[in-house]
Protein backbone atom coordinates (compact mmCIF):
# COMPACT_ATOMS: atom_id res chain seq x y z
CA UNK A 1 0.00 0.00 0.00
CA UNK A 2 2.75 2.35 0.93
CA UNK A 3 4.42 1.86 -2.47
CA UNK A 4 1.30 2.83 -4.36
CA UNK A 5 0.74 5.94 -2.36
CA UNK A 6 4.31 6.93 -3.05
CA UNK A 7 3.87 8.32 -6.56
CA UNK A 8 7.45 8.96 -7.67
CA UNK A 9 6.49 10.46 -11.02
CA UNK A 10 4.04 12.78 -9.26
CA UNK A 11 6.62 13.91 -6.71
CA UNK A 12 9.17 14.71 -9.38
CA UNK A 13 6.60 16.52 -11.50
CA UNK A 14 5.47 18.58 -8.53
CA UNK A 15 8.98 19.53 -7.49
CA UNK A 16 10.00 20.52 -11.02
CA UNK A 17 8.52 24.03 -11.38
CA UNK A 18 9.95 25.29 -8.08
CA UNK A 19 13.28 23.56 -8.64
CA UNK A 20 13.53 24.94 -12.16
CA UNK A 21 12.92 28.52 -10.99
CA UNK A 22 15.27 28.08 -8.06
CA UNK A 23 18.11 26.66 -10.12
CA UNK A 24 17.78 29.26 -12.88
CA UNK A 25 17.49 32.28 -10.58
CA UNK A 26 19.43 31.30 -7.46
CA UNK A 27 21.93 28.52 -8.08
CA UNK A 28 23.04 29.26 -11.64
CA UNK A 29 23.55 33.04 -11.09
CA UNK A 30 25.83 32.44 -8.11
CA UNK A 31 28.08 30.11 -10.13
CA UNK A 32 27.81 32.51 -13.04
CA UNK A 33 29.17 35.54 -11.15
CA UNK A 34 31.85 33.36 -9.56
CA UNK A 35 33.18 32.07 -12.88
CA UNK A 36 32.61 35.21 -14.94
CA UNK A 37 34.42 37.34 -12.38
CA UNK A 38 37.58 35.73 -13.78
CA UNK A 39 36.84 36.97 -17.30
CA UNK A 40 37.28 40.31 -18.94
CA UNK A 41 33.86 40.94 -20.44
CA UNK A 42 31.88 43.91 -21.70
CA UNK A 43 28.59 42.05 -22.11
CA UNK A 44 28.70 42.16 -25.90
CA UNK A 45 31.88 40.70 -27.39
CA UNK A 46 33.42 37.39 -26.33
CA UNK A 47 34.83 37.17 -22.86
CA UNK A 48 38.56 36.61 -22.39
CA UNK A 49 40.12 34.91 -19.40
CA UNK A 50 41.63 37.49 -17.07
CA UNK A 51 42.52 35.55 -13.94
CA UNK A 52 42.27 37.75 -10.89
CA UNK A 53 42.67 41.02 -12.79
CA UNK A 54 39.08 42.13 -12.18
CA UNK A 55 39.67 41.75 -8.46
CA UNK A 56 42.97 43.62 -8.64
CA UNK A 57 41.19 46.46 -10.43
CA UNK A 58 38.37 46.85 -7.93
CA UNK A 59 40.76 46.47 -4.98
CA UNK A 60 42.78 49.41 -6.27
CA UNK A 61 39.63 51.51 -6.70
CA UNK A 62 38.99 53.89 -3.83
CA UNK A 63 35.27 53.97 -4.59
CA UNK A 64 35.06 50.20 -4.01
CA UNK A 65 36.55 50.52 -0.54
CA UNK A 66 34.39 53.53 0.24
CA UNK A 67 31.31 51.52 -0.82
CA UNK A 68 32.33 48.49 1.22
CA UNK A 69 33.01 50.70 4.23
CA UNK A 70 29.59 52.35 3.88
CA UNK A 71 27.95 48.93 3.69
CA UNK A 72 29.75 47.78 6.82
CA UNK A 73 28.72 50.94 8.69
CA UNK A 74 25.18 50.38 7.45
CA UNK A 75 25.08 46.76 8.61
CA UNK A 76 26.65 47.54 11.98
CA UNK A 77 24.32 50.42 12.76
CA UNK A 78 21.34 48.26 11.84
CA UNK A 79 22.62 45.53 14.19
CA UNK A 80 23.61 47.79 17.09
CA UNK A 81 21.05 50.62 16.88
CA UNK A 82 17.99 49.45 14.99
CA UNK A 83 17.72 45.92 16.44
CA UNK A 84 18.24 47.01 20.09
CA UNK A 85 15.58 49.73 19.65
CA UNK A 86 13.26 47.13 18.18
CA UNK A 87 13.97 44.84 21.12
CA UNK A 88 13.21 47.63 23.57
CA UNK A 89 9.88 48.36 21.88
CA UNK A 90 9.07 44.63 21.63
CA UNK A 91 9.58 44.34 25.40
CA UNK A 92 7.34 47.36 26.00
CA UNK A 93 4.56 46.43 23.58
CA UNK A 94 4.43 42.78 24.57
CA UNK A 95 3.29 43.88 28.04
CA UNK A 96 0.21 45.03 26.14
CA UNK A 97 -0.06 48.68 27.11
CA UNK A 98 -3.13 50.58 25.88
CA UNK A 99 -3.46 50.71 22.08
CA UNK A 100 -0.53 48.30 21.60
CA UNK A 101 -2.14 46.76 18.53
CA UNK A 102 -2.55 50.19 17.00
CA UNK A 103 1.10 51.03 17.59
CA UNK A 104 2.26 47.68 16.28
CA UNK A 105 0.29 48.39 13.09
CA UNK A 106 1.84 51.85 12.79
CA UNK A 107 5.41 50.73 13.43
CA UNK A 108 5.11 48.02 10.81
CA UNK A 109 3.61 50.33 8.18
CA UNK A 110 6.89 51.39 6.47
CA UNK A 111 7.52 47.71 5.80
CA UNK A 112 4.60 47.45 3.37
CA UNK A 113 5.44 50.66 1.51
CA UNK A 114 8.10 50.35 -1.17
CA UNK A 115 11.63 51.44 -0.32
CA UNK A 116 11.60 53.77 -3.28
CA UNK A 117 8.43 55.55 -2.09
CA UNK A 118 9.85 55.93 1.42
CA UNK A 119 13.10 57.27 -0.02
CA UNK A 120 11.18 59.79 -2.13
CA UNK A 121 9.29 60.85 0.96
CA UNK A 122 12.59 61.43 2.75
CA UNK A 123 14.03 63.32 -0.19
CA UNK A 124 11.12 65.72 0.41
CA UNK A 125 12.03 65.82 4.10
CA UNK A 126 15.68 66.63 3.33
CA UNK A 127 14.96 69.04 0.44
CA UNK A 128 17.14 72.09 1.00
CA UNK A 129 14.57 74.71 -0.05
CA UNK A 130 11.13 73.44 0.95
CA UNK A 131 11.94 70.37 2.99
CA UNK A 132 10.27 69.31 6.20
CA UNK A 133 13.53 69.12 8.18
CA UNK A 134 14.69 72.65 7.39
CA UNK A 135 11.11 73.83 7.93
CA UNK A 136 11.11 72.34 11.44
CA UNK A 137 14.54 73.85 12.19
CA UNK A 138 13.33 77.29 11.11
CA UNK A 139 10.12 76.93 13.09
CA UNK A 140 11.99 76.21 16.32
CA UNK A 141 14.52 79.02 15.78
CA UNK A 142 17.39 76.85 14.57
CA UNK A 143 17.18 78.24 11.05
CA UNK A 144 20.94 78.76 10.90
CA UNK A 145 21.34 74.97 11.08
CA UNK A 146 19.26 74.50 7.94
CA UNK A 147 21.37 73.13 5.12
CA UNK A 148 21.45 71.14 1.91
CA UNK A 149 21.49 67.85 3.78
CA UNK A 150 22.03 65.52 0.84
CA UNK A 151 24.44 67.76 -1.07
CA UNK A 152 26.78 68.30 1.85
CA UNK A 153 29.61 65.70 2.00
CA UNK A 154 29.64 65.69 5.79
CA UNK A 155 25.90 65.05 6.23
CA UNK A 156 24.89 63.14 3.09
CA UNK A 157 25.74 59.60 4.20
CA UNK A 158 24.33 59.92 7.68
CA UNK A 159 21.08 61.31 6.24
CA UNK A 160 20.71 58.46 3.76
CA UNK A 161 21.41 55.89 6.46
CA UNK A 162 19.69 57.21 9.54
CA UNK A 163 16.01 57.50 8.67
CA UNK A 164 15.58 53.75 8.21
CA UNK A 165 17.13 52.95 11.57
CA UNK A 166 14.04 54.20 13.34
CA UNK A 167 11.69 52.02 11.32
CA UNK A 168 11.75 49.19 13.81
CA UNK A 169 8.47 47.41 13.04
CA UNK A 170 9.89 44.47 11.13
CA UNK A 171 12.30 43.30 13.82
CA UNK A 172 9.91 44.25 16.61
CA UNK A 173 7.19 42.01 15.20
CA UNK A 174 9.61 39.07 14.90
CA UNK A 175 10.72 39.50 18.51
CA UNK A 176 7.17 40.00 19.79
CA UNK A 177 6.24 36.66 18.25
CA UNK A 178 9.21 35.14 20.08
CA UNK A 179 8.08 36.68 23.36
CA UNK A 180 4.51 35.39 22.88
CA UNK A 181 5.94 31.87 22.62
CA UNK A 182 7.57 31.96 26.04
CA UNK A 183 6.03 29.68 28.65
CA UNK A 184 4.21 31.82 31.25
CA UNK A 185 5.32 29.61 34.16
CA UNK A 186 8.81 31.14 33.95
CA UNK A 187 7.33 34.52 34.78
CA UNK A 188 5.20 33.17 37.61
CA UNK A 189 8.24 31.54 39.19
CA UNK A 190 10.22 34.76 38.89
CA UNK A 191 7.39 36.75 40.38
CA UNK A 192 7.26 34.43 43.38
CA UNK A 193 11.01 34.96 43.78
CA UNK A 194 10.35 38.69 43.88
CA UNK A 195 11.88 39.65 40.54
CA UNK A 196 10.78 42.98 39.09
CA UNK A 197 9.92 43.72 35.47
CA UNK A 198 13.47 44.67 34.47
CA UNK A 199 14.94 41.56 36.01
CA UNK A 200 12.45 39.30 34.25
CA UNK A 201 13.08 41.09 30.94
CA UNK A 202 16.84 40.72 31.24
CA UNK A 203 17.10 37.28 32.80
CA UNK A 204 14.11 35.52 31.27
CA UNK A 205 12.72 37.21 28.18
CA UNK A 206 15.92 38.18 26.37
CA UNK A 207 17.71 34.82 26.81
CA UNK A 208 14.57 32.95 25.75
CA UNK A 209 14.11 34.91 22.54
CA UNK A 210 17.73 34.41 21.55
CA UNK A 211 16.67 32.66 18.40
CA UNK A 212 14.46 35.55 17.23
CA UNK A 213 17.19 37.98 18.22
CA UNK A 214 19.81 36.17 16.15
CA UNK A 215 17.38 36.08 13.20
CA UNK A 216 16.92 39.84 13.48
CA UNK A 217 20.64 40.55 13.73
CA UNK A 218 21.33 38.33 10.71
CA UNK A 219 18.60 39.96 8.63
CA UNK A 220 19.75 43.45 9.68
CA UNK A 221 23.30 42.70 8.59
CA UNK A 222 22.21 41.09 5.32
CA UNK A 223 19.86 43.97 4.49
CA UNK A 224 22.60 46.45 5.36
CA UNK A 225 24.89 44.81 2.83
CA UNK A 226 22.37 44.69 0.00
CA UNK A 227 20.98 48.22 0.34
CA UNK A 228 20.51 50.08 -2.92
CA UNK A 229 17.23 51.96 -3.43
CA UNK A 230 17.72 54.59 -0.74
CA UNK A 231 21.14 55.59 -2.01
CA UNK A 232 20.21 55.36 -5.67
CA UNK A 233 17.23 57.66 -5.23
CA UNK A 234 18.49 60.13 -2.63
CA UNK A 235 22.07 60.80 -3.74
CA UNK A 236 22.99 58.27 -6.45
CA UNK A 237 26.23 57.81 -4.55
CA UNK A 238 27.18 61.48 -4.47
CA UNK A 239 28.54 63.90 -3.46
CA UNK A 240 31.91 62.64 -4.76
CA UNK A 241 30.99 58.95 -4.16
CA UNK A 242 30.70 59.64 -0.45
CA UNK A 243 27.46 57.69 -0.13
CA UNK A 244 28.17 54.87 -2.57
CA UNK A 245 27.36 51.28 -1.57
CA UNK A 246 28.44 47.98 -3.15
CA UNK A 247 25.24 47.30 -5.07
CA UNK A 248 25.35 50.79 -6.54
CA UNK A 249 29.03 50.30 -7.34
CA UNK A 250 28.35 47.09 -9.23
CA UNK A 251 25.33 48.65 -10.93
CA UNK A 252 27.52 51.50 -12.20
CA UNK A 253 30.22 49.10 -13.37
CA UNK A 254 27.60 47.20 -15.27
CA UNK A 255 26.28 50.36 -16.90
CA UNK A 256 29.84 51.17 -17.98
CA UNK A 257 29.95 47.75 -19.66
CA UNK A 258 32.57 46.51 -17.23
CA UNK A 259 30.79 43.22 -16.54
CA UNK A 260 33.92 41.55 -15.21
CA UNK A 261 34.35 44.20 -12.54
CA UNK A 262 30.64 44.05 -11.72
CA UNK A 263 30.90 40.28 -11.23
CA UNK A 264 33.97 40.60 -9.03
CA UNK A 265 32.05 43.12 -6.90
CA UNK A 266 29.12 40.68 -6.70
CA UNK A 267 31.44 37.94 -5.49
CA UNK A 268 32.85 40.27 -2.83
CA UNK A 269 29.32 41.15 -1.75
CA UNK A 270 28.24 37.50 -1.55
CA UNK A 271 31.40 36.52 0.36
CA UNK A 272 31.05 39.41 2.82
CA UNK A 273 27.43 38.40 3.40
CA UNK A 274 28.33 34.75 3.96
CA UNK A 275 31.13 35.73 6.33
CA UNK A 276 28.81 37.98 8.33
CA UNK A 277 26.16 35.25 8.61
CA UNK A 278 28.73 32.72 9.81
CA UNK A 279 30.12 35.19 12.40
CA UNK A 280 26.68 36.00 13.77
CA UNK A 281 25.76 32.30 14.01
CA UNK A 282 29.03 31.64 15.88
CA UNK A 283 28.48 34.58 18.19
CA UNK A 284 24.99 33.45 19.17
CA UNK A 285 25.78 29.76 19.52
CA UNK A 286 28.94 30.28 21.60
CA UNK A 287 26.85 32.03 24.22
CA UNK A 288 25.14 28.73 24.90
CA UNK A 289 28.16 27.24 26.60
Amino acid sequence: MKHKRQNTVGIVLFLLPALFLFIVFFVFPIFFVGIMSLFDWNGITDAGFAGLQNYAKIFSDKVFWRSLRNNVIWALSACFIQVPLALLMALILSKKPKFWKFFRTVYFLPQVISGIAIATLWSAVYNSEFGLLNGILRAVGLGDQAKNWLGNPSTAFICVLIYGLFYIGYYMVIMMAGITGIDQTYYEAARIDGANVFQTDIHITIPLIKYSLSTCVTLAAVFGLRTFEQVYLLTNGGPANRTSVLVLYLYNQMRNNNYGGANASSVMLILTGALVIVCIRKMFSSRDE
Binding site: R5, Q6, N7, T8, G10, L15, P17, A18, L19, L21, V24, F25, F28, P29, F32, V33, M36, G43, M89, K96, F103, Y107, F108, L109, V112, S114, G115, I116, A117, T120, L121, W122, S123, A124, V125, F130, L132, G135, F166, G169, Y170, V173, I174, A177, G178, S212, T215, T218, V222, F228, E229, V247, L250, M254, A262, N263, S266, L269, I270, G273
Partner: protein
Protein backbone atom coordinates in the same frame (compact mmCIF):
# COMPACT_ATOMS: atom_id res chain seq x y z
CA UNK B 1 -8.28 42.89 25.37
CA UNK B 2 -7.36 45.83 27.56
CA UNK B 3 -9.47 44.46 30.38
CA UNK B 4 -7.78 41.08 30.58
CA UNK B 5 -4.37 42.70 30.39
CA UNK B 6 -5.27 44.83 33.36
CA UNK B 7 -6.46 41.86 35.38
CA UNK B 8 -3.17 40.07 34.89
CA UNK B 9 -1.12 42.94 36.17
CA UNK B 10 -0.23 42.96 39.81
CA UNK B 11 -1.36 46.07 41.57
CA UNK B 12 1.30 48.71 40.87
CA UNK B 13 2.08 51.40 43.38
CA UNK B 14 2.63 54.94 42.19
CA UNK B 15 6.13 55.74 43.38
CA UNK B 16 8.30 58.41 41.70
CA UNK B 17 10.22 55.59 40.08
CA UNK B 18 7.19 53.96 38.47
CA UNK B 19 5.94 57.35 37.29
CA UNK B 20 9.25 58.10 35.57
CA UNK B 21 9.24 54.69 33.94
CA UNK B 22 5.70 55.20 32.75
CA UNK B 23 6.57 58.58 31.23
CA UNK B 24 9.67 57.15 29.53
CA UNK B 25 7.65 54.25 28.18
CA UNK B 26 4.95 56.47 26.67
CA UNK B 27 7.55 58.87 25.34
CA UNK B 28 9.12 56.00 23.39
CA UNK B 29 5.81 54.61 22.20
CA UNK B 30 4.67 58.00 20.94
CA UNK B 31 8.06 58.91 19.50
CA UNK B 32 8.15 55.91 17.16
CA UNK B 33 4.49 56.40 16.28
CA UNK B 34 4.93 60.06 15.36
CA UNK B 35 8.21 59.37 13.59
CA UNK B 36 6.45 56.88 11.31
CA UNK B 37 3.19 58.72 10.74
CA UNK B 38 4.12 62.39 10.67
CA UNK B 39 6.06 62.45 7.37
CA UNK B 40 3.31 60.39 5.70
CA UNK B 41 0.55 62.67 6.96
CA UNK B 42 2.61 65.70 5.95
CA UNK B 43 3.06 64.29 2.45
CA UNK B 44 -0.68 63.68 2.17
CA UNK B 45 -1.64 67.15 3.43
CA UNK B 46 0.92 68.80 1.14
CA UNK B 47 -0.44 66.89 -1.84
CA UNK B 48 -3.73 68.75 -1.31
CA UNK B 49 -2.20 72.26 -1.29
CA UNK B 50 -1.17 74.63 -4.05
CA UNK B 51 2.54 75.07 -4.80
CA UNK B 52 2.36 78.68 -3.61
CA UNK B 53 0.96 77.57 -0.25
CA UNK B 54 3.64 74.91 0.05
CA UNK B 55 6.53 77.27 -0.70
CA UNK B 56 5.09 79.85 1.66
CA UNK B 57 4.79 77.51 4.64
CA UNK B 58 5.46 73.76 4.52
CA UNK B 59 3.22 73.15 7.54
CA UNK B 60 0.08 75.09 6.66
CA UNK B 61 -3.20 73.37 5.90
CA UNK B 62 -4.67 73.89 2.41
CA UNK B 63 -7.10 76.79 2.17
CA UNK B 64 -9.00 74.91 -0.53
CA UNK B 65 -8.42 71.20 -1.04
CA UNK B 66 -6.70 70.79 -4.42
CA UNK B 67 -7.94 67.58 -6.01
CA UNK B 68 -6.56 69.04 -9.21
CA UNK B 69 -3.09 67.83 -8.12
CA UNK B 70 -4.31 64.25 -8.34
CA UNK B 71 -5.83 64.88 -11.76
CA UNK B 72 -2.48 66.36 -12.88
CA UNK B 73 -0.58 63.40 -11.47
CA UNK B 74 -2.78 60.96 -13.34
CA UNK B 75 -2.65 62.76 -16.67
CA UNK B 76 0.99 63.86 -16.71
CA UNK B 77 2.74 60.83 -15.28
CA UNK B 78 0.70 58.22 -17.16
CA UNK B 79 -0.11 56.68 -13.80
CA UNK B 80 -2.98 54.57 -15.11
CA UNK B 81 -0.68 52.60 -17.38
CA UNK B 82 1.87 52.06 -14.60
CA UNK B 83 -0.78 50.87 -12.17
CA UNK B 84 -2.15 48.38 -14.71
CA UNK B 85 1.40 47.11 -15.38
CA UNK B 86 2.08 46.69 -11.68
CA UNK B 87 -1.20 44.85 -11.18
CA UNK B 88 -0.71 42.37 -14.03
CA UNK B 89 2.92 41.73 -13.06
CA UNK B 90 2.09 41.21 -9.40
CA UNK B 91 -0.99 39.03 -9.99
CA UNK B 92 0.68 36.73 -12.52
CA UNK B 93 3.95 36.47 -10.57
CA UNK B 94 2.03 35.71 -7.38
CA UNK B 95 -0.04 33.04 -9.14
CA UNK B 96 3.02 31.28 -10.61
CA UNK B 97 4.88 31.60 -7.32
CA UNK B 98 2.07 30.18 -5.18
CA UNK B 99 1.36 27.29 -7.57
CA UNK B 100 5.04 26.29 -7.69
CA UNK B 101 5.39 26.68 -3.92
CA UNK B 102 2.21 24.71 -3.19
CA UNK B 103 3.20 21.83 -5.47
CA UNK B 104 6.72 21.62 -4.07
CA UNK B 105 5.43 21.88 -0.50
CA UNK B 106 2.91 19.09 -1.14
CA UNK B 107 5.69 16.78 -2.31
CA UNK B 108 7.98 17.74 0.56
CA UNK B 109 5.38 17.81 3.32
CA UNK B 110 3.23 14.76 2.50
CA UNK B 111 5.72 12.24 1.12
CA UNK B 112 8.96 10.56 2.08
CA UNK B 113 11.81 10.56 -0.41
CA UNK B 114 15.56 10.82 -0.40
CA UNK B 115 17.01 14.32 -0.13
CA UNK B 116 13.73 16.04 0.64
CA UNK B 117 15.09 17.87 3.65
CA UNK B 118 18.15 18.88 1.62
CA UNK B 119 15.87 20.36 -1.04
CA UNK B 120 13.90 22.19 1.61
CA UNK B 121 17.06 23.50 3.28
CA UNK B 122 18.26 24.74 -0.10
CA UNK B 123 15.00 26.65 -0.66
CA UNK B 124 15.19 28.19 2.83
CA UNK B 125 18.80 29.25 2.38
CA UNK B 126 17.62 31.25 -0.63
CA UNK B 127 16.31 33.92 1.77
CA UNK B 128 19.90 34.84 2.61
CA UNK B 129 21.11 35.17 -1.00
CA UNK B 130 21.80 38.85 -1.74
CA UNK B 131 19.71 38.99 -4.90
CA UNK B 132 20.81 42.55 -5.67
CA UNK B 133 24.27 41.14 -6.31
CA UNK B 134 22.95 39.02 -9.17
CA UNK B 135 22.15 41.84 -11.59
CA UNK B 136 24.61 40.72 -14.28
CA UNK B 137 23.37 37.10 -14.51
CA UNK B 138 19.70 38.15 -14.45
CA UNK B 139 20.33 40.72 -17.16
CA UNK B 140 22.24 38.13 -19.21
CA UNK B 141 19.54 35.46 -18.81
CA UNK B 142 16.75 37.76 -19.95
CA UNK B 143 18.72 39.31 -22.78
CA UNK B 144 19.59 35.82 -24.13
CA UNK B 145 15.94 34.83 -23.77
CA UNK B 146 14.91 37.95 -25.70
CA UNK B 147 12.78 39.15 -22.79
CA UNK B 148 14.46 42.47 -22.04
CA UNK B 149 12.08 45.38 -21.70
CA UNK B 150 9.15 42.99 -21.39
CA UNK B 151 6.83 42.62 -18.42
CA UNK B 152 7.15 38.84 -18.80
CA UNK B 153 10.72 39.00 -17.52
CA UNK B 154 9.46 40.63 -14.32
CA UNK B 155 6.62 38.11 -13.96
CA UNK B 156 9.04 35.17 -14.12
CA UNK B 157 11.76 36.74 -11.98
CA UNK B 158 9.38 37.89 -9.25
CA UNK B 159 7.78 34.44 -9.12
CA UNK B 160 11.26 33.01 -8.53
CA UNK B 161 12.66 35.47 -5.98
CA UNK B 162 9.70 34.96 -3.63
CA UNK B 163 9.97 31.17 -3.67
CA UNK B 164 12.09 30.66 -0.52
CA UNK B 165 9.60 32.60 1.59
CA UNK B 166 6.51 31.02 0.02
CA UNK B 167 7.78 27.44 0.26
CA UNK B 168 8.64 28.11 3.87
CA UNK B 169 5.22 29.45 4.78
CA UNK B 170 3.15 26.92 2.77
CA UNK B 171 5.13 23.91 3.97
CA UNK B 172 4.67 25.05 7.56
CA UNK B 173 0.89 25.07 7.08
CA UNK B 174 0.84 21.72 5.27
CA UNK B 175 2.87 20.06 8.03
CA UNK B 176 0.33 21.16 10.61
CA UNK B 177 -2.54 18.86 9.64
CA UNK B 178 -2.54 15.09 10.16
CA UNK B 179 -1.97 12.42 7.51
CA UNK B 180 -5.19 10.58 8.41
CA UNK B 181 -7.19 13.12 6.45
CA UNK B 182 -5.65 11.96 3.19
CA UNK B 183 -5.76 8.32 4.28
CA UNK B 184 -9.54 8.23 4.00
CA UNK B 185 -9.42 9.85 0.58
CA UNK B 186 -6.75 7.38 -0.50
CA UNK B 187 -8.94 4.43 0.51
CA UNK B 188 -11.76 5.99 -1.54
CA UNK B 189 -9.50 5.82 -4.59
CA UNK B 190 -8.40 9.43 -4.66
CA UNK B 191 -4.97 9.64 -6.38
CA UNK B 192 -1.87 11.78 -5.96
CA UNK B 193 -3.28 14.70 -7.97
CA UNK B 194 -6.81 14.38 -6.65
CA UNK B 195 -5.65 14.53 -3.04
CA UNK B 196 -3.64 17.66 -3.84
CA UNK B 197 -6.52 19.47 -5.53
CA UNK B 198 -9.44 18.31 -3.40
CA UNK B 199 -7.93 17.92 0.07
CA UNK B 200 -4.53 19.49 0.62
CA UNK B 201 -5.08 22.76 -1.27
CA UNK B 202 -8.42 23.61 0.39
CA UNK B 203 -7.01 22.76 3.83
CA UNK B 204 -3.96 24.97 3.27
CA UNK B 205 -6.03 27.97 2.18
CA UNK B 206 -4.91 30.18 5.09
CA UNK B 207 -1.27 29.44 4.38
CA UNK B 208 -1.71 30.10 0.68
CA UNK B 209 -3.40 33.44 1.36
CA UNK B 210 -0.63 34.39 3.79
CA UNK B 211 2.12 33.52 1.33
CA UNK B 212 0.25 35.19 -1.53
CA UNK B 213 -0.22 38.43 0.40
CA UNK B 214 3.46 38.52 1.20
CA UNK B 215 4.43 37.69 -2.36
CA UNK B 216 2.07 40.29 -3.82
CA UNK B 217 3.58 43.03 -1.67
CA UNK B 218 7.09 41.98 -2.67
CA UNK B 219 6.13 42.21 -6.35
CA UNK B 220 4.24 45.47 -6.00
CA UNK B 221 7.15 47.15 -4.21
CA UNK B 222 10.05 45.72 -6.22
CA UNK B 223 12.26 48.35 -7.81
CA UNK B 224 15.80 47.11 -8.47
CA UNK B 225 15.01 44.60 -11.21
CA UNK B 226 12.19 46.58 -12.75
CA UNK B 227 14.77 49.34 -13.12
CA UNK B 228 17.33 46.98 -14.61
CA UNK B 229 15.18 44.94 -16.98
CA UNK B 230 12.64 47.39 -18.39
CA UNK B 231 13.14 50.75 -20.08
CA UNK B 232 10.28 51.88 -22.31
CA UNK B 233 7.23 53.81 -21.03
CA UNK B 234 4.95 50.89 -21.91
CA UNK B 235 6.71 48.60 -19.43
CA UNK B 236 7.07 50.98 -16.49
CA UNK B 237 5.73 49.75 -13.19
CA UNK B 238 4.55 52.12 -10.52
CA UNK B 239 7.82 51.95 -8.57
CA UNK B 240 9.78 53.00 -11.65
CA UNK B 241 7.22 55.75 -12.06
CA UNK B 242 7.99 57.11 -8.60
CA UNK B 243 11.63 57.36 -9.61
CA UNK B 244 10.71 59.52 -12.59
CA UNK B 245 8.22 61.75 -10.81
CA UNK B 246 11.15 63.75 -9.52
CA UNK B 247 12.14 64.56 -13.12
CA UNK B 248 8.63 64.95 -14.45
CA UNK B 249 7.39 67.41 -11.89
CA UNK B 250 10.57 69.44 -11.42
CA UNK B 251 8.74 72.50 -10.13
CA UNK B 252 5.28 71.09 -9.49
CA UNK B 253 6.00 69.57 -6.08
CA UNK B 254 2.40 69.14 -5.00
CA UNK B 255 1.50 67.02 -8.05
CA UNK B 256 4.59 64.90 -7.43
CA UNK B 257 3.45 64.30 -3.87
CA UNK B 258 -0.03 63.44 -5.13
CA UNK B 259 1.53 60.85 -7.46
CA UNK B 260 3.51 59.34 -4.58
CA UNK B 261 0.36 59.16 -2.45
CA UNK B 262 -1.41 57.33 -5.29
CA UNK B 263 1.54 54.93 -5.55
CA UNK B 264 1.53 53.99 -1.87
CA UNK B 265 -2.24 53.83 -1.29
CA UNK B 266 -2.62 50.26 -2.65
CA UNK B 267 0.06 49.03 -0.23
CA UNK B 268 -1.68 50.70 2.69
CA UNK B 269 -5.11 49.32 1.72
CA UNK B 270 -3.64 45.84 1.28
CA UNK B 271 -1.98 46.14 4.67
CA UNK B 272 -5.26 47.17 6.34
CA UNK B 273 -7.10 44.22 4.79
CA UNK B 274 -4.47 41.54 5.32
CA UNK B 275 -2.62 42.79 8.38
CA UNK B 276 -2.92 39.54 10.29
CA UNK B 277 -1.69 37.46 7.34
CA UNK B 278 1.27 39.75 6.71
CA UNK B 279 2.38 39.73 10.31
CA UNK B 280 1.81 36.00 10.82
CA UNK B 281 3.54 35.21 7.54
CA UNK B 282 6.55 37.22 8.52
CA UNK B 283 6.81 35.64 11.92
CA UNK B 284 6.24 32.06 10.77
CA UNK B 285 8.99 32.58 8.23
CA UNK B 286 11.44 34.19 10.60
CA UNK B 287 10.79 32.60 13.97
CA UNK B 288 10.62 28.91 13.22
CA UNK B 289 13.33 29.07 10.58
Amino acid sequence: MVKTAKKNKIHEQLTPKTVVIKIAKWFLILFFGIYTLFPLVWLFVTSLKTNAEYFDNPFSLPAVIQFQNYVNAFSQANLGRMIINSITVSVIATFINIMAAAMASYAISRFQFKGKEAIFAMFSAGVMVPLNALMVPYFTIFSRAGLLDSLNSLRILYAAIGLPMSVFIVRGFMDSFPREIEEAAYVDGCGFYGRFLRIVLPLTKTGLVTAATFQFLTCWNEFVYANLLTSSPATKTIQIGIRYFTNQFTTDYVSMYAAIVIAIIPSIIGYMLFQEQIISGLTSGAVKG
